[in-house]
């Protein structure tokens, strides 16, 4: 009975959040709408991270890599379209006289979008296969994934001529032939992002409700036991890792169009860990929690860095400490607090009343 009620509560919350987002262009200025488009991309990443961390117990500190791969694939297409047949500006600055072969097919938008999804998934399958099948687990995996994020950063900065170095890729003009700065295009991109977010939310909802979801939770709570029960845990982990990379890749592709720039600063070690805090604050192990967390933390971040940028680092640092130590269930778990207090009070009342009886009957206490 209780679980029924719980599911209903989060569903209502999810519906309210998505409806508020859908109505956003009607009550917010264009500038804010674009910002929320960006936050929704982050919410998609958070959803994917929640699938591997909240449900399967794999803490990845390298999802900036998959986000970045998706974003760069899309950005390459946008850059080529902006250059209009010429060599992109940063390439001629760094002395290239011909388009590198790897860039050529990205002139085709369909290929670019396909790659924005395929490249992250492929890398995730390779990395996941190499680590999970050989039982590289827990924090060992986390550290490796963080190293991966660091390498991605240095690689992007190091190969200036191919990736634009630390400036990244920017100065886009059109997307699929439409002006990228026009309000209509921005609104369309906003709704496409919302649609993708809702669809992926539904997919995750579907998966976690099925046996796959149960097996993932079993892996989180006791991987060896799940293995002894006959499940090939490595396969499940590779699958869910690839799924989250897929979602991060899509988020990256959607992000570039709306924000208009992708640079190594958005894919390295620091942003990758920041992604984890969205999930932690929202509430890992629930689906709507991370979405809420990504939206809320990023809105806060924008407001904070507009007004007092100095304080933001302190704030996010303290938030990390407080949430993980005292609120491991995130803000979603706040709703359980009244119930917990009530339970404590009841226990207290029972204890005092049994103390008043002054009958040291141990069996009676035990039966309670």
């Amino acid at each position: 009975m209780k679980t029924m009620k719980k599911i209903k509560g989060t569903t209502i919350l999810a519906a309210v959040i998505f409806l508020l987002l859908a109505a956003l262009p009607f009550y917010m200025p264009m500038f804010r709408v674009s910002l929320f488009g960006k936050y929704m991309c982050f919410a998609i990443i958070a959803l994917g991270l929640d699938m591997i961390w909240g449900y399967t117990g794999i803490l990845s500190l390298g999802h900036g890599v998959y986000f970045g791969l998706g974003a760069y694939c899309m950005a390459m297409y946008l850059k080529l379209e902006a250059a209009g047949g010429n060599l992109p500006d940063f390439m001629s600055w760094s002395g290239l006289d011909r388009l590198p072969a790897a860039w050529v097919p990205f002139g085709n938008p369909v290929f670019a979008v396909a790659m924005a999804v395929a490249v992250p998934v492929l890398l995730a399958v390779i990395i996941g296969y190499l680590t999970f099948t050989n039982k590289i687990r827990g924090v060992y995996f986390s550290i490796l994934s963080q190293a991966m994020a660091m390498i991605m950063g240095t690689l992007l900065i190091g190969s200036q001529a191919f990736t634009g170095g630390s400036n990244g890729l920017t100065d886009f003009k059109t997307i699929f032939g439409q002006d990228i700065h026009a309000p209509v295009t921005k609104i369309v991109m906003f709704y496409v992002t919302l649609l993708v977010l809702v669809l992926l939310f539904a997919l995750c909802r579907f998966l976690t409700g099925r046996r796959v979801g149960k097996v993932l939770i079993a892996i989180r709570d006791g991987e060896n036991r799940a293995g002894f029960a006959g499940y090939n845990t490595a396969n499940y982990k590779v699958f869910v890792y690839a799924l989250s990379a897929f979602m991060a890749g899509i988020a990256g592709a959607l992000y570039v169009g709306q924000v208009g720039i992708i640079s190594p600063a958005e894919v390295g070690v620091v942003p990758s860990v920041e992604m984890i805090i969205w999930v932690a604050i929202g509430g890992k192990g629930t689906l709507i929690g991370p979405v809420l967390g990504a939206l809320a933390v990023n809105s806060l971040k924008t407001t904070a860095s507009e007004n007092f940028p100095e304080l933001w680092s302190y704030f996010i640092g303290v938030l990390f400490v407080v949430v993980i130590l005292w609120l491991p269930g995130g803000v979603i778990s706040l709703k359980e607090i009244p119930g917990k207090i009530r339970a404590k009070l009841r226990l207290h009342r029972e204890e005092t009343s049994s103390a008043e009886e002054k009958i040291p009957d141990k069996t009676a206490v035990r039966s309670k």
Binding site: L59, I127, G138, T154, S159, N224, V269
Partner: protein, 302 residues
């Protein structure tokens, strides 16, 4: 060839800094199952301590005794980082035993706070520390090949730390207790070892070693608020390759990451070198998922 040897020697000195930083990390990870992402910030704390000590020497003491700052800086950077580590352990780390992933995130938050604090106090731009004059020259061996005294000194410092930790761990009662807690916490506690005290002491010493590494870093590069972030990933790779809780593993890991990394970078580029060393680490872990010299443990889950 001489250039390569030169590069190799630089690799060794990178290794020695990694070793000093990783020793503390490996022991605390093995002992408490806690990943300390703020470990890099202890390097930063040590480095800034050296910076302050130098400033004070320049301001208040005659120029003749300037070189003596290096001894004061070494001692103080160890002490300051150790005290900070002790406070951190008592306030936060204590609540996170055995929750490796959670501890990783909490300490990341702490590292953000410490970084911002450094930025508020010292400003974002890097600051430089002058090495004492007797370390400025270099040892000419043959032709182009010359080894800077600074790097030799750092190497000696690292070896000294290694033997210090070895002596502490294997030749003292305290060390026996540390190893006992590492192998079986409950049993050690039942036999009268004060595990809480062991934990704080070990954590403080580990942090102190990181501070020392930070002090050494000031002689071979500029220091800034993000110093810790630059080193933390490599330090963790060192621990992962070597295996948590093993001294020999830390030596191997530091050598592997430091020397291997510089060698790869010499033959390719800086970024490709990083990719190659990462691939090597993944390959090594295929055979030994818990590190090359992992402490044997018969428990199925940990």
């Amino acid at each position: 060839m001489e250039l390569f040897l030169m590069q190799l020697f630089n690799g060794i000195s990178v290794s020695s800094i990694l070793l000093m930083a990783a020793l503390g990390l490996a022991v605390t990870f093995g002992l408490m199952g806690v990943i300390n992402m703020a470990h890099g910030e202890f390097l930063m704390v040590g480095a800034y301590t050296a910076y302050i000590v130098q400033k004070l020497f320049i301001a208040y003491l005659p120029a003749g005794v300037f070189d003596a700052y290096c001894i004061v800086a070494i001692l103080l950077s160890f002490l300051v980082a150790a005290v900070l580590g002790f406070i951190l352990e008592r306030l936060v780390i204590r609540r996170l035993y055995g929750r490796a992933a959670d501890s990783l995130l909490v300490t990341w938050g702490i590292s953000l706070i410490l970084q911002q604090a450094a930025r508020s106090i010292f400003g974002s731009p890097n600051v430089g520390v002058k090495a004492p004059s007797f370390l400025e020259k270099s040892l000419r061996i043959h032709g182009m090949l010359s080894l800077p005294y600074k790097r030799i000194f750092i190497l000696i410092l690292a070896v000294f730390c290694l033997f210090g930790v070895y002596w502490l761990m294997y030749r003292t009662r305290q060390g026996r207790n540390i190893r006992a807690v590492m192998q079986n916490r409950d049993m050690a506690a039942a036999l009268g070892v004060n595990t809480g005290r062991i934990d704080s002491a070990t954590f403080a010493i580990g942090s102190g070693l990181a501070g020392l590494a930070g002090c050494a870093l000031t002689w071979i590069g500029a220091i800034g608020p993000t110093l810790g972030t630059n080193y933390i990933v490599d330090t963790f790779m060192t621990v992962v390759v070597g295996g948590a809780g093993s001294l020999l593993g830390s030596v191997f890991g530091a050598g592997f990451i430091g020397i291997g990394g510089t060698a790869f970078e010499f033959f390719t580029t800086a970024s490709i070198g990083k990719v190659l060393i990462f691939l090597c680490v993944i390959l090594l872990l295929q055979f030994r998922p818990k590190g090359i010299f992992a402490v044997k443990n018969r428990a199925l889950e940990d």
